[in-house]
């Protein structure tokens, strides 16, 4: 085959420039540390890298949200802890107020202490996060959850919780509804309350009572009335809708009524109640289904009760026993909430850790995919430059041969 000179040189120089090209590519790889200079170098790999990077970026924003949600979860746990502590202080004071040796002024000073706890509790309910959001104000988190209106703490937060996403399809509590945390708690023993009649003059009071047989419990407003029958104290229990329960019909009151023997249990419709002391004839106790209280209302009622001068120790006793029962319910509620918050908090932290791990692992994968193997690049680099030198050497040789040919003497 004839090899034309022009083509020969052209081909040779084409080869050299091609080698420079691939050398240049290797140098770029070595410079940037990246395998791909353009996506078109390997579109499939580039797509893989990009979609992984997108995923990591998305997770990163979830990760940031998770950290914020985690700090909220911690706030929920610590504030619930404080609320539980304050409640137990209140319960201690309440116990001491119940002591028979306390007089009106002792109770008034206890009331003053309780006022301090009231504002403590309010500031707990109005806990703010770092950016000034009220964490117990639900979806109205810009304003305090509880404000004082005419001396009464009222909930003015939102009626629903807000959530934030901490992973795709996983959201967690971000602000809670204060009225569900600090309110919506049954008073009394959780099922019913017992109050002394306003006209009571005797010295009897009752325990908070309990439902001993929930199957036969009938929710109703019952009135226990004391009367006499042949000089002995008897009692009657009438339900607002159940009608007379004790004595069982057709017995009548007071003729057929059971005798009150002092410090005895009264049992009816699944309810058991212990009455202490001696009531007067005509004294009544009312048993009502529990209604919902909030911490602030109950505490404020207690303060009012302790500030009011005592006229009938038995009635005061009855009221304090009920308050004690109610705060028992509040304490239970807050402890439950605290443990739930603790669980939620560790769940959020676990998710944050999981996100961190995924981000970490995906980043490693991306680096594996995207980064050039520097060792390989350098060895290829030296191979290529060697080959380039060889080609240039060949080119020189070719010129040399031609020169020699031209210098030949004929």
């Amino acid at each position: 085959m004839r090899i034309p000179t022009f083509g020969m040189y052209q081909r040779e120089s084409g080869q050299i420039s091609q080698m420079y090209d691939s050398l240049g590519k290797l140098i770029q790889q070595a410079d940037s540390g990246k395998k791909l200079i353009h996506s078109s170098d390997d579109p499939v790999l580039a797509h893989q890298i990009k979609s992984k990077e997108d995923y990591v970026n998305t997770l990163q924003s979830y990760f940031d949200n998770g950290v914020l949600a985690g700090s909220h979860a911690t706030l929920f746990t610590t504030s619930a802890q404080s609320a539980v502590n304050v409640t137990s202080q209140i319960q201690t004071l309440l116990k001491s107020a119940q002591s028979g040796t306390k007089n009106d002024s002792d109770r008034a000073s206890i009331a003053e202490q309780l006022k301090g706890y009231l504002s403590n509790m309010a500031s707990i309910a109005n806990t703010q996060d770092g950016s000034g959001e009220f964490i117990y104000a639900g979806n109205n988190s810009d304003a305090p959850a509880y404000i004082l209106v005419n001396g009464v703490y009222q909930y003015q937060g939102g009626s629903s919780q807000t959530q934030v996403n901490i992973a795709p399809e996983i959201s967690t509590l971000y602000t809670d509804v204060g009225s569900e945390v600090f309110g919506n708690i049954y008073d009394g023993n959780g099922t019913f309350t017992v109050t002394a009649g306003s006209g009571n003059t005797g010295g009897a009071s009752t325990t908070p009572g309990a439902v001993i047989n929930s199957a036969s419990y009938v929710a109703d407003t019952y009135t226990i009335t004391f009367g006499t029958n042949g000089g002995s104290l008897v009692y009657q229990v009438v339900g607002a809708t159940s009608g007379q329960v004790i004595p069982a019909l057709p017995a009548t009151f007071p003729a057929g009524a059971p005798t009150y023997t002092g410090s005895s249990d009264v049992n009816f419709n699944g309810i058991s109640l212990h009455i202490n002391g001696t009531p007067s004839v005509g004294d009544t106790f009312q048993i009502q289904p529990s209604t919902r209280q909030d911490v602030f209302g109950s505490l404020q009622n207690l303060i009012t009760l302790l500030q009011t001068p005592n006229t009938n120790p038995a009635k005061l006793d009855q009221a304090l026993i009920q308050a004690d029962a109610s705060f028992g319910q509040i304490s239970n509620h807050l402890v439950t909430y605290m443990s739930q918050a603790g669980t939620a908090s560790s769940a959020v932290k676990a998710q944050v850790d999981a996100n961190r791990d995924i981000i970490h692992n995906q980043t490693i994968t991306i680096n594996d995919l995207a980064n050039a193997d520097i060792g390989q690049v350098y060895s290829a680099l030296s191979q290529q430059s060697l080959a380039l030198q060889a080609t240039i050497g060949g080119y020189m040789k070719m010129q040399d041969t031609l020169n020699k040919l031209l210098q030949m003497q004929f």
Binding site: G7, H38, S61, S160
Partner: protein
Amino acid sequence: MSDITNIGISGLLANQYALTVASQNMASANVPSYSRRMVDFTENSFNQGVSVGDVRRIVDEAANRAALTTKSDFSKMDTYLQQLQGFEPVFDDDGTSISKYITDSLSALGKLNTHASDPASRGLYLTSLAALANRVQNVSAEIARQQQETNQAVQTRIGQINNLLSSIANINTELAGPLNQNTPGLQDKRDGKVAELAQYFNFMTQTDGAGMMSVTLSNGLALVSSQTAATLTTIPDPTDPNNILIAVQNAPGNTTPITNFIQSGELAGITNFRRTVLDQTQRSLGRLSISIAETFNAQNKLGIDINGNLGGDIFNDINNSSAINSRIIPNLNNTGSGGFTVNITTLGQLTTSDYRLTIGAANAYVLTRISDNAIMSSGTISGSLPQTVSADGFDLNINSGTFNSGDQYIVSPTNGAAKGLTLASTDPGRLALGWPVATSKGVQAQGSTGNIKVTAITDTTTSDFSVATQLNPPIKVVFLTATTYQLENATTSAVLEGPITYNPANGTIFPTPGSYDPGYRVLLSGVMQAGDTFNIDYNTGKGDNSNGLEMEKLYRTNILESGTQTLSQSYAALSTAISIETNKAQSGRDATLILKDQAEQKRDAISGVSLQEETMNLARYQQAYQACAQILEVSKTVLETIMRIAG
């Protein structure tokens, strides 16, 4: 005696000429179009020495043709690749890719959802959306600029082609002159022009007996026919005012479009790039823009803004009056005057193709999808307008006008969408992050663990939302027994519907058994007691992020391609398509380069000059020349000897 002298002289002359030819070959070694010459010596009759019979141009037509064709093919791929390589970085750069702007806005939204009422966070999210819109616009503008550039590139090349065509015709004319017949130099020059022409487009050449070369297009249209050259020009594309077509100027005002017959060369590379890459990318980007705008607008309308009002559009409405008019492009040659609008109806069905509406006789119409030529709809335009034709997620509304047989319209649902992606409101307060409905517990009887919550907002155009910042009516759910409830108007206490059976396993209230659907969904759960009440009212909570969380979901929702692509994925598909095309073009270019090199080598092996060979020839002719001189010397000596004898 004179014989020897004559032989010597003829050999001297012939070899001198051969030396000239060899020198000419050597001197022209670096002229690409030069075909080497070869001297044919012929013996003169009656032992009268030798003479140069012919100087041949060593040319092989087949090899030449192969070199031209492969050159066209290579030029096409090379230009295509160059254009793509300039285009790819627009989508490839991590810092400026649209997908980064999408992720950035998601991240801003995530932060905003932790403090929905914060003006700064709202502002940041809106700014991130503005940046996204801005980037889409920039990319769209860059595509439009490159579309313009391809027009200019075509026009510049047309000028050069016209030069070459007339040069070829001129050389034909010169060759036709009586003195220049069979002049190798002119033929070489013409071959050079033809080779240059092959860089721009593909054609066929034919040389007739008189040495006239004709250049014809692949469809047989003559561009150079003996001594006359056609003039190429560009004309506006009747189907797309932004595009140009290549045409042959027959007479002033009379042109024949030839774009479709140019399948190779730089011109094909450029028009290909425009048609398969630029136009397609612009449409894909348009569809992405429409999807972004409509998805976020629809969600924002389901929420309430910072002032408690129902949300409006974040981006400009996709079906605004200018958009619906810009989606139909009448053919410049139409004689009728149809008035059309195009409304986008379903994002999931939207394709990235354009559609062709052809009017036939008697108001018949056919709507064809251009990407695969599938007929979408055909029928007759009725006398009573407006008439709506639905296809692939859009409605073509035929509103008015006259329709003549042969009229054509391009229906382009994505036209101008990327350019038009702009924020409708720059007020961060207008971001509707909360839900317009809030629920609360009313009376809870003992033993009740009932709960209520809003689970979804489906439609805020119902009459329930007809009064600003109020529910019309606010609703109270009243439990009549533990398992039945009724819905009351909370203001008037009028019973709306009931009793309705409560199912604790699925306590969604709406739509009710009586088919009342207020446009929101509320879920009851837990154990209910008679007397329990729940309130459903307008939301006044400023910190509500419920709709914001729904917006976050949009980023993961499969919206496009019949619900198989998220917005990000749609962008990734678009940019990956370009990378793949670039990659393909790279290997296509490499392959055509090899073919071109091979064909050139083959041609050069036949026609190219080898300096080594010519050096040897030179030496050979030189020696022959010296030998012939020796003959003369001998003849002189012989003559002198005879003279001496005679003398």
